[in-house]
Amino acid sequence: MTNVNSACEQLFPLGFNLVTSGEMIYGEAKTSKGVVALLGTINSAPIGVDLAFALAGKVLEIIQNYPQRPIIILVDTQGQNLSRRDELLGNAGYLAHLSMCFELARMRGHTLISIVYKEAVSGGYLALGMIADRSFALDSAQIRVMALSAMSRIMQISLERLEELCASSPIFGPGASNYVALGALDAVLANDLSSPIEQALSQSEQLDQRAKLGLERGGRKLAFEVINLVINAHV
């Protein structure tokens, strides 16, 4: 289930169309809640300045041409493009711009739902999918900051020890289920892919509930408490 078309067939049984432009895909789908805009990436695209700019342009088009149409973000990225050229041209600015375009869409009444259908990594996921109101991943999807082997090398902690820690905590290791436990994903989708999306479309969520969900699910025990301590501190 790594192909975007086969994922969409199950996500949008009422029909969809997708246009491919380089590593960007866009289009629309029918749902029982109406037509939704589709926007995302394929081939585990690394997100550099050109792709981020193209995606941002599409978000701005949707905002202007289809006010308040929900946007479903179809995520498949190996992260920000690790290249000298992209950093030279200012990838931070392009990825930030993409995030701000999504934020503008949200402010103007577009529900944002992200679905990691194959892979999501680090900075690419931050700008493309994590910005959504509601986030999902297919159960075959990979989500991570970094591969464990690379983490082991940089942190100078043995792979065996890291694997041991991964078994006891969702904090370190790759895996969509870890992101559910930490509150960053609403759910992992298996079997019935379309109903949870339809449901999410009818329950828009403007507040960031991730820290609260992380606490309820036991994955992040401190974030929600600390945020509230700061807000309520007598200073």
Binding site: Q64, A92, S99, R108, I131, V145, D208, R220, V230, V235
Partner: protein, 298 residues
């Protein structure tokens, strides 16, 4: 070091930086170290912890006006963002959306996600970003500073560019992927992380100001930095369709003009700088004069 002997931000600590940037003796820290709120995950790994988890946040005055300020501690885990560190910043920005201070000043100095809490760090940065947008949507001006030894990298590089303004010094750097990360993943021929001149002209303050990734460039002196911050008070950048279309056009023009440039020197030449190879060695004042002549931005 005594505060009065510190002239700039580069080598100072998070608390020194806040004391120097804000009006003297006006800072009140939120969740100060005696509250002992530290990272449970570092403890699990048997790593050293800090009772502020590497970030100082609070409320103070700037030219008599109430501001919120946060500073990442460069000396603790490279200023990296873990669960608690991130939640402190998220909380401060959420509180800013409620209390609407005159400004939020973020003194950033970080490699990005703390790998020891990888997933929680990445999610925390996304939460910081959402809270930042909330503060901005309430009209609070958020100013990011990059003037420290770690630079501003990873997801926080993206967050910095989501602020109203980025202020940078010559020593400041701003990028998503750092030189070491690019080299380790793509090889030394893609990026030689030991080539410091390359690092600075690709990610450093001067280049970032020239291309408008940073909206302000100042000498690393407390006086200059304070004056630059003061100029942004009362000038929030609206998160509006009009503004984002304007930024989109400007980012598009950058791609059109400089897409085929292999090095910052090529970009600077195309911008019309006569002696681009001299840019790195120019003093701040001469650089600013030249930069403001060729920058096509406000």
């Amino acid at each position: 070091m005594r505060l009065e002997n510190i002239s700039g931000l580069y080598e100072s600590s998070a608390r020194e930086r806040i004391s120097l940037i804000l009006d003297a003796a006006t800072f009140q820290e939120i969740l100060p170290p005696f509250k002992r709120i530290s990272s449970p995950h570092l403890k699990t790994l048997g790593m050293p912890i800090a009772f502020d988890d590497g970030i100082v946040i609070g409320v103070g005055l700037f030219e008599g006006k109430k501001v919120f300020c946060a500073a990442q501690e460069p000396g603790f885990m490279g200023g990296s963002v873990g669960e608690v560190h991130g939640a402190k910043l998220t909380g401060l920005l959420e509180r800013a959306a409620i209390e609407k201070p005159a400004a939020v000043i973020l003194i950033l100095d970080t490699g990005g996600v703390r790998l020891h809490e990888a997933n929680a760090g990445l999610i925390a940065i996304s939460e910081i970003q959402r809270a930042l947008f909330k503060a901005r949507s309430m009209g609070v001006v958020v100013i990011a500073l990059s003037a420290g030894s770690n630079g501003v990298y990873g997801g926080i590089g993206i967050v910095a560019r989501c602020c109203d303004y980025v202020l940078i010094t010559e020593q400041g750097r701003l990028s998503v992927s750092g030189p070491e990360v690019i080299e380790s993943q793509k090889g030394v021929e893609e990026f030689d992380a030991r080539d410091k001149a390359l690092v600075w002209r690709t990610m450093g303050g001067k280049h970032r100001y020239l291309q408008n990734e940073a909206q302000a460039y100042t000498k690393d002196s407390i006086k200059n930095i304070r004056a630059t911050i003061a100029a942004y008070f009362g000038k929030p950048v609206p998160l509006s369709l009009e503004e984002l279309l304007r930024q989109h056009k400007s980012l598009g023009q950058r791609l059109e003009k400089f897409s085929d440039c292999a090095d910052a020197l090529d970009i600077w030449t195309k911008m019309g700088i006569q002696n681009p190879d001299q840019i790195p060695s120019l003093d701040d004042e001469s650089f600013i004069t030249i930069a403001n002549r060729v920058r096509d931005h406000d």
